[in-house]
């Protein structure tokens, strides 16, 4: 026994092959999941876009046409001519397609003005958010003052209360201020909703920037304000973009408060108007979907424009190395 050579057991498992197969399986799983997820997210949007180019008849056909068989721009024409001297009416629109039952909502002519309202409100909310949020976040992140933590918690606690609970108090305040049915009422209340998030996001980011950068700037001759503008802001682009997108989308999509405070086309925003299209006796899906497509365009443009500024690794090289 003792003089028998000790040989290791023959390794019959081909680990290299196993690893290869494992890798392929892994990739397949990721790919399939990705495709499913993408389809899930994009399906409603694709249908929105596709149906905006379909006639009412085609929209309700079974099975649905994902690609319009007879693409038409009539829905958009109807939107852009609504309220003009020669109004698009039930007759003019359905003339070519008598069986379709096409219908123009009674508030159709308010669509473009409400879009303008939405844009004005969202833009103001974004700008004011930055004007208020950036200095507030810088102060909290980089200046040690008495009550600093308390103020962070206070700011966040305002967001623990659900919006629906705030509607009545907001309404009373806005009415007392005589601001009902004005864009101002929306700007003010949207700020109350978004500024805490803005400050919170920016605090996180500013705290991540080294204190010594702030000190260096101030020794180099910057006041606090100049340090913020000349050193912190250029480095904060990614978080500023996040803030811009977040606040723009929040105010663009907001429904509840806008429903409460607005009554006429003077202040109605797009979500309110889109919703009103469904409250007529008849619903025009084609028109509604075309309006929906238009409603998606500005946020998409904002996202595309600002996405370019999300540059990662911007702060690399600030400290030692």
């Amino acid at each position: 026994m003792s003089d028998m050579p000790i040989t290791p057991p023959v390794d019959r498992i081909d680990y290299r092959r196993r690893q290869k197969i494992g890798r392929i399986v892994q990739r397949l799983v990721i790919l399939i999941s990705a495709i499913l997820l993408t389809a899930y997210v994009l399906a409603p949007v694709s249908w929105l876009v596709s149906s905006a180019f379909q006639t009412e008849t085609e929209i309700v056909s079974i099975p649905p046409h994902w690609i319009p068989e007879h693409p038409t721009l009539r829905n958009f024409e109807a939107i852009f001519t609504a309220g003009n001297d020669e109004p698009v009416t039930y007759e003019t629109r359905s003339g070519t397609d008598p069986a379709a039952g096409d219908f123009i909502p009674s508030t159709a002519e308010n669509l473009l003005p409400s879009m303008a309202n939405s844009l004005i409100v969202a833009t103001l909310v974004v700008i004011l958010n930055l004007l208020v949020g950036v200095p507030a976040a810088y102060a909290i992140a980089k200046i040690r003052f008495w009550g600093r933590n308390a103020s962070v918690y206070f700011i966040l606690i305002t967001r623990v209360i659900p919006d629906i609970a705030l509607v009545v108090p907001f309404f009373l305040v806005i009415r007392k201020l005589g601001m009902l049915d004005t864009l101002g009422s929306l700007v003010i209340t949207y700020l109350a909703i978004t500024v805490p998030f803005t400050v919170f996001i920016l605090i996180q980011y500013f705290e991540g920037l080294p204190d010594e950068l702030d000190k260096a700037a101030r020794v180099d001759g910057c006041s606090r304000f100049q340090a913020l503008i000349k050193v912190f802001l250029p480095l904060s682009m990614p978080s500023l973009v996040a803030v811009v997108l977040f606040t723009f989308l929040t105010s663009w999509n907001e429904f509840l408060l806008a429903l409460m405070f607005t009554q006429t086309s003077a202040s109605q925003t797009l979500p309110i108007l889109l919703a009103s299209f469904t409250s007529d006796f008849t619903v025009s899906f084609s028109f509604l979907n075309a309006a929906g497509v238009l409603a998606v365009v500005p946020p998409v443009i904002v996202a595309i424009v600002f996405e370019r500024y999300i540059v990662s690794g911007l702060t690399a090289g600030a400290v030692k190395g």
Partner: protein
């Protein structure tokens, strides 16, 4: 060009932490002052108060004749180099160096001339278009120096500027910083926890511990005449050795430090200063290098014991020695090879002994003067 004076300055942070206590310090114009002490002792806090980055809680900080307690940093003519360098990541090296001048509304021509001049002195001219992320640690360090240099400030502050560099670079940069001080002819305040840096660079060293100044003096004062055991221990490597013993009258009436197996006869000037402590137990300090090998007989003016460790360090060797149950460390030449367990006798340089009060740790020799 500025003279900086602290009178009874205290710093308490918002959380109540008392970081600097009763600081009194007079920094001469064009002096090179080094604040030395262990991490957390309040060096950076002191430096930040000079820069205006931290408020003085109590006392007065005076530049020349002006109290500057409430002057913001951008209105003080100070430049600062940070441990982490704190370069602006979004600016090129050129713009990093020129930023301070730009903020002070210097003309484009002046900025260009000064930036290029500084870059040339620091040998970073070829890097001016790069961003900090594209530089090595040493290069970033130079950019940080350049940024402070071009300003030609009246006070130049440095907070552990070399501690992120590798050993070789650190030593060559010491020389450059010293040269910088010579050419800039301005007041330097330099913070470090590295005793060697402090000893090489300083005109005067301020040793701090726990927010309290332990001693202020020239490198020689600090090293040769430490005023307490903290200062004595903080400088020197291997660190100073301590053991306790009694002061008694020797055979010829002179004063001696006695401990079992050891009798050190103290010089006359020591004896004069220690008169009042006769018969009392004191703490003796012997620096690692203040011994000589071989010649002495055991017992009188010499330490004997067995070798517990031998650590050659190139030029010298460190010897660990068991001396009546205590381990002492000495630095000796490397001519004699010692072996573990060998019995040796080292003669003590009597003129360089340090004697401290056992309770307070205060020097009984140097504080008396």
């Amino acid at each position: 060009m500025a003279r900086i004076r602290f009178t009874n300055v205290n710093k308490k942070y918002a959380n109540g932490f008392h970081a600097v206590r009763d600081l009194n310090l007079d920094i001469e114009d064009r002096e090179f002052i080094v604040l030395l002490g262990p991490s957390g002792c309040g060096k950076s806090t002191t430096l930040n108060m000079i820069a205006g980055l931290e408020e003085v809680s109590d006392g007065e900080l005076i530049f020349d004749e002006q109290v500057v307690n409430y002057v913001p940093p951008h209105k003080r003519d100070v430049a600062m180099v940070f441990q982490s360098y704190a370069l602006y990541p979004h600016k090129t090296v050129y713009d990093n160096i020129g930023f301070g001048l730009k903020m002070r509304n210097a003309s484009k021509e002046v900025i260009d001339e000064r930036v290029r001049d500084a870059a040339q002195k620091l040998e970073i001219s070829h890097l001016l278009d790069r961003r900090p992320s594209q530089l090595s640690g040493g290069q970033r360090q130079r950019v940080a120096l350049g940024r402070a240099m071009v300003r030609d400030p009246s006070v130049f502050l440095m907070d552990e500027p070399l501690s992120n560099l590798d050993a070789a670079l650190r030593i060559s940069m010491r020389a450059e910083i010293k040269e910088l001080h010579r050419t800039m002819e301005t007041t330097f305040v330099y913070v470090t926890h590295d005793q060697a840096e402090a000893l090489t660079l300083a005109d005067r060293i301020v040793v701090m511990n726990d927010g309290v100044v332990q001693q202020i003096g020239t490198p020689d004062d600090i090293y040769e005449r430490p005023s307490n055991t903290f200062v004595a221990s903080f400088l020197g490597s291997p660190p100073i050795n301590y053991f306790d013993g009694a002061l008694e009258a020797g055979p010829d009436g002179e004063m001696a430090f006695i401990r079992d197996g050891l009798r050190l006869l103290l010089p006359a000037d020591y004896a004069a200063r220690l008169k009042e402590k006769m018969g009392r137990v004191v703490r003796l300090g012997i620096r690692a290098e203040d011994v000589v090998e071989g010649t002495a007989e055991p017992g009188i003016n010499a330490l004997s014991g067995t070798v517990t460790s031998v650590l050659p360090v190139g030029s010298d060797q460190y010897l660990g020695m068991d001396f009546g149950g205590e381990e002492l460390f000495f630095r000796v030449g490397k001519d004699l090879r010692h072996a573990f367990g060998e019995k040796i006798t080292l003669a003590v340089d009597l003129s360089r002994l340090h004697i401290f009060d056992r309770e307070s740790g205060q020097s009984l020799i140097w504080n008396a003067a």
